[in-house]
């Protein structure tokens, strides 16, 4: 497959922003892959700072390194250069203090909804009774009550994704990473999941990084939207979303601030594709 190039340590900044309470700090990060034919720069010049409890959406065309960014934060991927810190700590390998949700629910077919959620607890060796209680609580929060013993093949796509979300939240991670979690759902279910995610975020207070293709979804959910452009993947602009905390799907969408946010993102993404 591909192999990572060794990071060039000499270019690292003597970062002054050490451990000042940020949930996620990405400092001048670049990711390069070496494929058979050529070197590919997936990400370059990426710096981002996310405060605890923020909801940050990441939008951009395919191949701009959105998912790569999440992999860096989770430690599943190491940067070629630059630094990634989680709660002031350098990310050196896969981190346990995060929750991850993928586009596909990635559930184990042979486990019921509840036991899929409890996989998180089993892997971590969490106390059983406590984990079970937390799982029930999360299933109630996401509307899975009554489906505890259903198997993935008996659940709709939206229900499966709810199970995946519960699994990601079981251990109360301070940071939740979501990689196009609703991309495979129909529009109606997607709206509903957006409303629920917003509510869950408010209830749990976790920091969320959400990668999405939907501009509306990005703005509706987030405090800030990271707009990325491809070749090489980098941050084009950070957009503050100045909408009230309490959001109503219909009302929020008709507010001028919502229109301003989505309009700006469209301009940026349009400009990126026009320059190709």
């Amino acid at each position: 497959m591909t192999s990572m190039m060794a990071g060039n340590t000499s270019t690292q900044r003597s970062s002054t922003a050490t451990a000042t309470g940020a949930a996620v700090e990405i400092d001048d990060v670049a990711v390069r892959f070496r494929t058979k034919k050529k070197d590919v720069t997936a990400l370059t010049d990426v710096s981002l700072r996310i405060e605890p409890g923020e909801f940050v959406s990441i939008v951009g065309a395919s191949g701009c390194g959105k998912s790569t960014l999440l992999k860096l934060v989770s430690g599943l991927l190491r940067p070629s250069s630059g630094q990634v810190r989680l709660h002031g700590e350098d990310v050196r390998g896969p981190r346990r203090d995060i929750g991850y949700v993928f586009q596909r629910a990635a559930l184990l077919e042979w486990r019921s909804a509840r036991r899929n959620i409890l996989l998180q607890a089993e892997m971590r060796g969490m106390p059983r009774a406590q984990a079970r209680e937390r799982a029930d609580e999360l299933m109630a929060m996401t509307g899975l009550t009554g489906f505890e013993d259903a198997y993935p093949n008996e659940l709709s796509g939206g229900m499966q994704q709810r199970v995946a979300l519960c699994r990601a939240l079981l251990h109360r991670p301070p940071v939740l990473l979501m990689d196009e979690p609703f991309g495979a759902l129909d529009a109606l279910t997607r709206e509903q999941m957006n409303v629920e995610l917003r509510r869950i975020w408010q209830e749990t207070g976790t920091t969320v990084m959400l990668v999405t293709h939907s501009i509306a979804e990005a703005v509706y959910l987030a405090n800030r939207v990271v707009v990325m452009t491809p070749r090489p993947g980098t941050i084009a602009e950070l957009i503050d979303v100045d909408l009230p905390v309490e959001r109503d799907y219909g009302k929020t969408m008709s507010e001028p601030e919502f229109a301003r946010g989505t309009g700006r993102i469209r301009d940026l993404l349009g400009a990126a594709s026009a320059s190709d």
Binding site: P94, R95, A106, L108, E109, M123, R124, V195
Partner: protein, 290 residues
């Protein structure tokens, strides 16, 4: 907001309907379904016996070439002790060979999946061992191991080993990479990831291989007996052939096929209980079972 809760309700009742429509585990229901699935092959089998009987009764074929079903069953009934003993011998060789093949096959598959170096060096060797006709090397095992049961078991292992290795390797490799990444973020070590995710996920593939291997193991044991034996169903057939005793020959063949079928069904039943969740088990597509 009202519209949202309405769609929510819709989705819930929709999936709840799906849950009740498909009973997952129920002994009575599954027995009824088993009967429903098996009556056709049983009927075909009965038809074949009738044709066999009709052909021999009408004297279309000389009795010393194809004996009648009655005569064949008479031979079995007249010499039950003899058949029981030889069936036991072949069953013993087959089952032992099958079990050893599972142990060795699964283990080497796991090693190959976790070590690309081992895989690269072992795979060509495996293929080489597979393409050698077993009947050609069976005499060698008799020279090495004598006339006892061990050379037959070795041939059975060799026959059954290959499909098990291939299917297990395929199964272990077909794991969703996101599942493994998820496991890493859960802080799970290689052991937990293997037992809780990777191995269970590979089981449908493994069982497909086991079904092939079960029938191969019978062939292996009989091939071993052909080369040099003084007991077992292979020996019975060889003796009957030498004596032009076709009723005995047919009786041996019949029991041998039955042995293969029984072993296959045992593996299927095992699969049914181990993997009630798997796709091939839950729909009404009756592609398997006999």
């Amino acid at each position: 907001m009202a519209a949202q809760s309405a769609t929510d309700e819709l989705e819930r009742t929709g999936s709840a309907g799906a849950v009740t429509a498909r009973p997952r585990r129920g002994a009575g229901a599954s027995l009824a379904r088993f009967a429903q699935q098996t009556w056709r092959p049983v009927a075909v089998l009965a038809a074949l016996v009738v044709i066999w009987w009709a052909v021999t009764a009408a004297n279309l074929i000389k009795p010393y070439l194809v004996p009648s079903p009655g005569k064949t069953f008479d031979v079995i009934l007249a010499q039950t002790g003899y058949f029981a003993h030889n069936t036991w011998i072949t069953s013993y060789e087959t089952i032992l060979g099958f079990v050893i093949a599972i142990a060795v096959g699964v283990l080497s598959a796991v090693v190959m999946v976790y070590s690309p170096t081992v895989e690269k060096s072992l795979y060509p060797l495996l293929l080489f061992a597979q393409v050698i006709p077993k009947i050609a090397i069976a005499p060698l095992f008799v020279v090495w191991l004598g006339f006892g049961l061990s050379p037959k078991i070795v041939v059975a292992v060799l026959m059954a080993f290959f499909p098990i290795v291939i299917s297990t390797v395929t199964g272990l490799k077909s794991i969703d990479p996101e599942m493994l990444q998820l496991s890493a973020t859960m802080g799970a070590g290689a052991g937990k990831t293997f037992w809780k995710i990777r191995f269970p996920a590979s089981l449908p593939h493994l069982f497909a291989g086991l079904k092939v291997a079960a029938t191969m193991a019978v062939t292996g044991a009989v091939v071993g007996e052909f080369v040099g034996a003084n007991e077992g169903l292979g020996y019975v057939i060889l003796q009957a052939n030498g004596n032009l005793d076709t009723p005995m020959l047919f009786a041996g063949l019949l029991i041998m096929s039955l042995l293969g079928v029984v072993l296959f069904v045992v593996v299927e039943l095992l699969e049914y209980f181990v993997l009630p969740w798997h796709a091939s088990r839950r729909t009404d597509a009756a592609t398997t079972s006999l």
